[in-house]
Structures are given as structure tokens and as C-alpha cells.
């Protein structure tokens, strides 16, 4: 079968299609009203929602830091948590800006690369959030939550040795976590990261061949 021969049949089929295709106008109007159906917009919405929650967390933590500024053992734990939350909010804003900037009316190779880069960024942010989160959301969170919600002093409840030992282990995990992210990034994110990177390479090859 030759492509140019089939092309003639395709043109014939094309002429018939003019008469046989009908667009359902009611569904068309309803579909246009459902603006969130666009996956990129839906993604931006949920990332934005996460960012908004993060901002709320920043305000609550900011108040806590202000109230306990004279007590570094509480304030410091809240600062660590706040830095983590601010970093995730910044990441959410960046992702949202990238998602909103996608213009589907641009050439395919450019848009597919943009979408895949967004996907890669999202995967990497999740990796980093999980790896650093395991340190931040244990001892610092325990100290802040006990003090903030119940007025309890975690240092007295659990003993300073217990908290400091846990914190030291947590801190020692950070360089290990950084090394693990660099060394096993692909495997940690699994199929999605590899698939995204592969497709990005495919698009580049398609563009440059």
C-alpha cells in the first residue's frame, strides 16, 4: 500500500465526511461551560488550592513565631516548619504560573516540551517535599503542635534527650536524602519520571532529526 494512493481515498472520504458529521450544539455549549475540564487548568486549580493552604499555614506559623520569639526552643522549630511551608508555596506558585502559561495554539513540539517539563518539575517537587518533609514534620511539628494547640511543652513531656536525639537523626538524614534524590531520582519517582524524560527526549529528537 502506497501513502500517496491512500491519500486519494482519504480525500474522497474527507468529502463524504462533510455531509455525515454532525456536532451536537447542546453538548458543545455545555462542554464550553465546563472550563475545569481542561486538565492543565484543573492541575493549576489544585496546585493553587495547595498554595492557598500553605499560605494559611504560613500565617499560623508566623503568629506562633511572633508569640514565642523570646523562647528559641519553640520559635526555632516553627521557623524550620515555616521555611518548608514557604518553599512548598513558592513551588506551587511556580507550577501554577507554568501551567497557566501553556498556550495550546503554539507549535506541538514546543507545547509538548513545556507540558513534559511541567510534569518533571511536579515529580521533582514531590520527591523533595517527601524527603525533606519526613525530617520537618516529625520533631519540629511535634514541638509546635503540642505548644500551639495544648500549651504543652514537648521538651518536658518527652524529655530533651529524646527530642534532641530524634532531631539529630533527622538532621543527619538530610545529606543522605539529598544524595538519595540525586542518585536515585529516576527510581524514586518510578515510571512517571522515566516516561516524562523519555518523551521529552523523543520530542527533542523529532524536532532536531
Amino acid at each position: 500500500m502506497e501513502l500517496d494512493v491512500v491519500k486519494e481515498k482519504w480525500a474522497e472520504h474527507d468529502r463524504k465526511l462533510d455531509l455525515s458529521i454532525r456536532l451536537n450544539r447542546q453538548i458543545l455549549m455545555a462542554a464550553n461551560r465546563r472550563r475545569l475540564r481542561s486538565p492543565v487548568l484543573r492541575f493549576a486549580f489544585f496546585v493553587g488550592l495547595g498554595g492557598l493552604l500553605g499560605l494559611t499555614g504560613c500565617v499560623i506559623l508566623g503568629q506562633f513565631i511572633y508569640r514565642h520569639w523570646a523562647e528559641p526552643r519553640f520559635a526555632l522549630a516553627a521557623v524550620v516548619l515555616d521555611v518548608w511551608v514557604i518553599a512548598t508555596v513558592a513551588a506551587a506558585v511556580r507550577q501554577m504560573a507554568m501551567a497557566m502559561a501553556v498556550d495550546y495554539g503554539q507549535p506541538i513540539t514546543a507545547i509538548q516540551k513545556q507540558l513534559e517539563s511541567l510534569r518533571l518539575l511536579r515529580i521533582r517537587i514531590i520527591q523533595w517535599a517527601l524527603l525533606t518533609g519526613q525530617v520537618v514534620w516529625w520533631i519540629p511539628f511535634l514541638i509546635v503542635a503540642l505548644k500551639g494547640f495544648w500549651g504543652a511543652d514537648a521538651y518536658q513531656v518527652f524529655g530533651e534527650t529524646f527530642l534532641l536525639a530524634n532531631l539529630a537523626v533527622g538532621l543527619a538524614m538530610i545529606p543522605l536524602a539529598i544524595w538519595a534524590v540525586r542518585r536515585f531520582a529516576g527510581q524514586l519517582a518510578g515510571y512517571n519520571l522515566n516516561q516524562a524524560a523519555d518523551f521529552l527526549a523523543t520530542v527533542s529528537d523529532f524536532e532536531n532529526e
Binding site: M1, E2, L3, D4, V6, K7, K9, W10, A11, H13, D14, K16, L17, D18, L19, S20, I21, R22, L23, N24, R25, Q26, I27, L28, A31, N32, R34, R35, R37, S38, P39, L41, D103, Y104, G105, Q106, P107, I108, T109, A110, I111, Q112, L115, F199, T202, V203, F206, E207, E209
Partner: protein, 163 residues
């Protein structure tokens, strides 16, 4: 332009170019229910982007870009393969006589297209639709020389596979 005017202009252009919608959906999605879903997703994106259409390129070129970009993303989303879709009685994209009236060689052609990667699917579709190399290059974002090379490769591949 007021919103009702814009809607009317959009509907008129969509009606004029509905074949693009049909062919892109048919090439990227074999399942009839999902195909209708894809057609709606493309239409939503076309409507959302319509305000940005400045007429610097032909409407068909712009529509191809959006339709193919959405279709490629749709095709690549893993969830699509396992998503459960409830069949509806009414469809957005109705085609009279499908698939009974589709000639055998067109069915084979669609099978061949189905076996291609998403970018080459776009390329062959644009070629079959009588777009010039310049237009194909503008839609895909590659050079005309690159288009010519790839089409030549596809011709050979087709000859070998469907010999």
C-alpha cells in the same frame, strides 16, 4: 466582540472545520466513548484559546495545533487507558454510517496510523489532509526539510509494513 458574537463566530468556524476534530479524534482514540470525550476536551480548549486567536495564521492551522496538542496529552495520560466511561445515548460528534461505510483500505490506514507514535501520527494526519510542508512545519514546530525527511520515512515504512 461581545460574548454572544464570539460564540457565534466560534461555532461557525468549528462547524466549518469539524472534519479536523473528527480525524484527530479518530486517529488518537480507538474507543468510541473516549473519542467523544476527547472531542469535547479539544472543543473546550479551542473555546478557551479562541480569544487568543489573532488571525496571523489560518484558522485550520491554529485548530490543528490545539487539537493535536490536546490529543497527544490525552493519548499519553495513563488514566485514560483504565478510565471507566459511561456510554451516553447522545454524542457530541455524530458520524452517519460509521463504521460500516468505511472502506477497507481506510481501515488499514487508520490501523497503520494507530501504530505510530503520537508525533508521527500528527505528521501523517497533516500530510493526508493536503497541508503544505510549510503548514505542517508551522503546526509541528519543525523545519520544512525535517518534514520532508520524515514523510519520506513514513512512506517507506508504510510500503514495508503494508506490502
Amino acid at each position: 466582540m461581545t460574548t454572544p458574537d464570539r460564540q457565534a463566530a466560534f461555532q461557525h468556524l468549528l462547524e466549518e472545520h469539524k472534519k479536523i476534530l473528527y480525524k484527530v479524534c479518530n486517529s488518537y482514540c480507538q474507543d468510541r466513548d473516549l473519542r467523544d470525550d476527547l472531542a469535547q476536551e479539544i472543543t473546550v480548549q479551542l473555546w478557551r484559546s479562541f480569544a487568543r486567536f489573532d488571525g496571523r495564521c489560518r484558522f485550520s492551522t491554529w485548530m490543528y495545533r490545539i487539537a493535536l496538542n490536546v490529543a497527544i496529552s490525552f493519548y499519553r495520560r495513563e488514566s485514560v487507558r483504565t478510565r471507566h466511561v459511561v456510554s451516553g445515548e447522545t454524542r457530541f460528534l455524530e458520524v452517519g454510517g460509521e463504521p460500516a461505510r468505511q472502506p477497507e483500505d481506510l481501515r488499514i490506514l487508520y490501523e497503520f496510523i494507530d501504530g505510530l507514535d503520537p508525533l508521527n501520527k500528527a505528521l501523517i494526519l497533516l500530510y493526508l489532509d493536503e497541508n503544505s510542508y510549510q503548514e505542517i512545519a508551522a503546526v509541528l514546530g519543525i523545519t520544512e526539510t525535517n518534514v520532508a525527511t520524515k514523510i519520506s520515512r513514513l512512506k517507506n515504512k508504510m510500503k514495508q509494513e503494508l506490502a
